[in-house]
Symmetry: D2
Subunit: 346 residues, 4 copies
């Protein structure tokens, strides 16, 4: 059994790791840290886990305990992994960081968007961006994974075949995306109260969302070119808990491209990318709680604008599920080990 | 008092007309027709109206009764107004049609999108598109108003200053919009069950939504050119009841245009268009149940893509409220008569 | 015009007072205080009020400014009104307190449930419990109104005819009630996040909710007896924003009592209590945003248990609307002045 | 592998059976019938099952095909199982009926509540009420299981220890229960539209719900007495998809009974009944998608009224999960085989 350590398990990505690992035949949580909840049994905080982790207790952060684990997940706000990753890596740890700490290669860019000094500059170049559909080989031997953000995963998987195959004009890529409220985490904020969100819809962060530079970095990588690609990215907040929906727009160089075929071929061997049949609609509920990304391909009125819709669960394929997918790859397991199940309907 | 007749008052636009008219000091409902509910008191069907219409009964459709009214609203599915508008207009009626029957000037185009023969071709040219912010003068003397659809109202008000002032490239206009479920009406459909919609988000009609030709017709009108404008329009379904949010994308000809000022000046005298201060977010809940359209203006990272977000209540400014606004104009009343109130929060 | 002062206008009862007063022809807000938001315009905090209070600013608390008002509403957490009511009353103010500070006549009981010393003991006997359907005459001449809590209003109006007419066994009264999330206020708490509430239902405070002693005090008053009445009160949390639903159970002394008639007669002259026709269902949505309390009367299978269901909007009839109803009575206005409007549907 | 046949797999209990069986190591669906959807692949109707049942097709009902299965689930409206159960049982089938057809032993009572003639009277006495916590031994050898309704499961498990141990007055038992909308099924009804349900709460069926006689029959069984027990049962509709919450009230004969201990001991060996620690709250979300029933025990203010709150997922422990639990017992498997997993949070 792979011994798993989780740093900061009291947020939504932490509890999602715990939930997913109840199903995993080859991994088991042995350490879970939380300064605030130290000493409490996990099910006291998360009653959905009663009967699953009755003997697992939150403990104060302790690098020695973590180094006794085979893999360490950081399910923490940005800044935390930077502070201790160095010591752990030097101690031989394998780290999967669910936060933004190591996603951006350009340290100055990271510091501009996160408005603080980077705390582990020398380790940035070590990090592998943990999008298996792009980086599978590098993940196998990585010891520091920067697990992609929730919006980036959906948007990148939707644009990837178009960019790699140079099918679209890359000057005016547009992503109009929307997320359930769990993307904002478990912190107490007035703006995230039920009363403030229910029965409303809004854009946010239009003038600059922290996932933008991460997405643009990867889009540029996909292009194989050195010219930075630019994206207009508008996130919205949906009055629901889980799920991301991305609606992507790009101008086709050739209106007669068979887009459906492009996508089906691009993803035919991917266990967690499901290209829907032509004419289908991608609904977030069909991926809720699963590690799947579903994609529908459209070309309205046969005009020159491609419209790609992508759905995923922001906490699963958009975070904790993808983290476990990375773990499976790193440890030579079947990539979908412990991650194959159907979402609830209704 | 203006005597109001409502044809087909059992759907959501019908009950919204009834609700709004409880507040109107100069108009009163005297006839409301419904074949299916004939003989029932209005509050039996709509208990929110108990105490307001206790003596108003649904009656079978009857043109004589309608002709005794000062104005007739059609709150019916498409096709119904076409069938009786001619006789009523010849009888001297003023008609405000909330359906799609008279919105498209090109009859062949209407027939293509609605997949049936148009039932009142000779009256199409008589119809005035009831968007007061564009057509106020024509509305004053109209006898047949084609009240705009819910998506078109939001999208048109958001693009209008940009198009009229020729500030954007008109080749690749994009509208990513989303609506609450009430836009689908009160018909019993599996896809609109609470269990099917709640906690999910999806696009629909990506390959062609009936509001598209109506929007493109008006965008072309705004441009003052004969070249048909093209729009990529993707509607989505939000798990909530009321509200439309449109996110509009257009490429600016000149990145240095002061967009905020353009919008503030364009709408400074409009009673129902509220341009939010720079840096604000447009939320659907702030217009729920009101006749307001609120607009936020963005230019992310100062790049050349304008992002305009627009919110309205699909049943109010997007339908019944706008219909009453048209009535006010037609009868020489203050345009906001009976329509000035604040939305609930929370 | 009645000059209105509002203390603590940044919570949900405050913004509801503001919203309702936009409709009131005889009252106008002249002062609104908030230590935290002092200096900000009201619509900055509550964008639904743009266009209504553009020139009203939050100010720091100041008794002189408040004493220049004709009536002062306290829309504050418990404890605040106690701290300044004395000085204001001595200065001649009329106070309507929406908090729990003056609802319980037995000071020791108040201190036990609220776990703090009462800050204005000498004024408790001065307070009139502001339930117009019970205390209308006393309200007319009151200078300190203790406005009822949201659960008490619904539960008391549902039990009142049964208790006053001695129709039920008073040993085992049961109230199973449920509230939307706005009842918990606008404070940032993890438990009230959208993610924590949506798609779930639970009881809370089963072992003791602070509204219990207030309800039992009034039930005993209704009985006209000195024997304290006991109630089992279980509140629940509904995944929605506004609305209270109370399901009341009582054992009938006589199974053949015509309960429907009892309720219709008891409330026939009440402007804000609507006894639904026999066989109807009380739905919270039919009273949302209104000052109405709707009641449905049931006697399942003709057995000896009466089941009364009651709905109200917790922020309107359950708080701010009722406060304005009290104001109308105190100032000799029509009791429903500014409070007569229909709820949205859907 | 147990070969499973499902009759009527297009409703919510059908798709829930399919979902749960994707996890089951010892059973596999070989036949699924639907007259309306015959010939379609299962994932066409239920896209959440893409990748799980890609080669399973709905077929027209055919008793021979069903008789080739080891067990047949009826996931149909009442009346359907009655029509074909006889022939199948004579053919040697094992049937688990999720509908109401065989739940009530008194045929006349069934006919009164369901308002039609019973179609398989001679088989009623053969049926075993499939509540494992009560009937485990009888289930082992049954060939016709009447799987309990969703409300009955929650209410019966909550009252069972109190009744069996004769701790409460049985004259005025009260159940105030509430269900998510999925309890109403997948049929298209105006009343179940998202627009009609969201942001509202109501009681329904107060004057008589079909689950009442089924509950009273079992309560009487629990009592070991011949005197029929009476219950006041009020169901409510929650604006969410899945979950039942039952709040039960009973008068204690002895206020000093240790209720917490009674419940813990009664259920200490039950795999799917979780008695929460004293002071806990039962939330429906903690059991969503699981086969668990969670119970919280209260005695407010130490008075003589016991308040028991019970949560379950109406489609899982309240229907399809319980059906599989019955199957496990009938086939000698571990009772929780394929049914042990944690719910999503959030």
């Amino acid at each position: 059994m792979i011994k798993v350590g989780i740093v900061g398990g009291t947020g939504y990505t932490g509890v999602e790791l715990l939930r997913l690992l109840t199903n995993h035949p080859k991994a088991q949580v042995s350490v879970i840290t939380s300064r605030a909840e130290s000493g409490r049994a996990v099910p006291e905080l998360f009653p959905n886990l009663r009967g699953h982790y009755d003997n697992l207790y939150f403990s104060a952060p302790d690098n020695n305990a973590l180094l006794a684990c085979d893999v360490i997940f950081f399910a923490t706000p940005h800044g935390v992994a930077q502070a201790s990753a160095g010591e752990l890596l030097e101690g031989g740890a394998k780290i999967i960081d669910l936060s933004a700490d190591f996603r951006i290669r350009d340290v100055a860019l990271w510091e501009k968007w996160y408005n603080q000094e980077h705390g582990a500059k020398k380790w940035v170049s070590e990090a592998v961006y943990g999008l298996p559909e792009y980086n599978r080989e590098a993940i196998k031997n990585a010891r520091l994974i920067a697990c992609p953000g929730c919006y980036p995963t959906a948007i990148l998987l939707g644009f990837k075949p178009l960019i790699e195959q140079k099918l679209v004009d890359t000057q005016h890529l547009i992503a109009s995306a929307a997320s359930g409220a769990s993307g904002a985490g478990r912190g107490a904020k007035v703006a995230m109260l039920h009363t403030e969100l229910c029965e409303s819809f809004k854009a946010y962060g239009v003038d600059g969302h922290r996932h933008l530079p991460e997405i643009e970095q990867l889009l540029t990588d996909f292009s194989g070119s050195k010219d930075a690609m630019t994206l207009t990215f508008v996130p919205h907040l949906i009055p629901m808990s889980r799920g991301i929906h991305a609606t992507l727009f790009a101008t086709l160089k050739d209106k007669s491209t068979n887009l459906q075929q492009v996508f089906e071929q691009a993803y035919e061997n991917e266990p967690f990318v499901d290209v829907l049949p032509a004419g289908s609609t991608a609904e977030t509920r069909t991926v809720k709680g699963t590690n799947l990304c579903r994609i529908a391909v459209h070309q309205p009125q046969g005009r020159d604008t491609a419209v790609i819709t992508v759905v995923e669960d922001n906490l699963t394929k958009g975070s904790s599920g993808q983290a476990i997918q990375n773990m499976n790859i790193m440890f030579g397991l079947d990539e979908s080990c412990g991650l194959h199940f159907a979402s609830l309907l209704p």
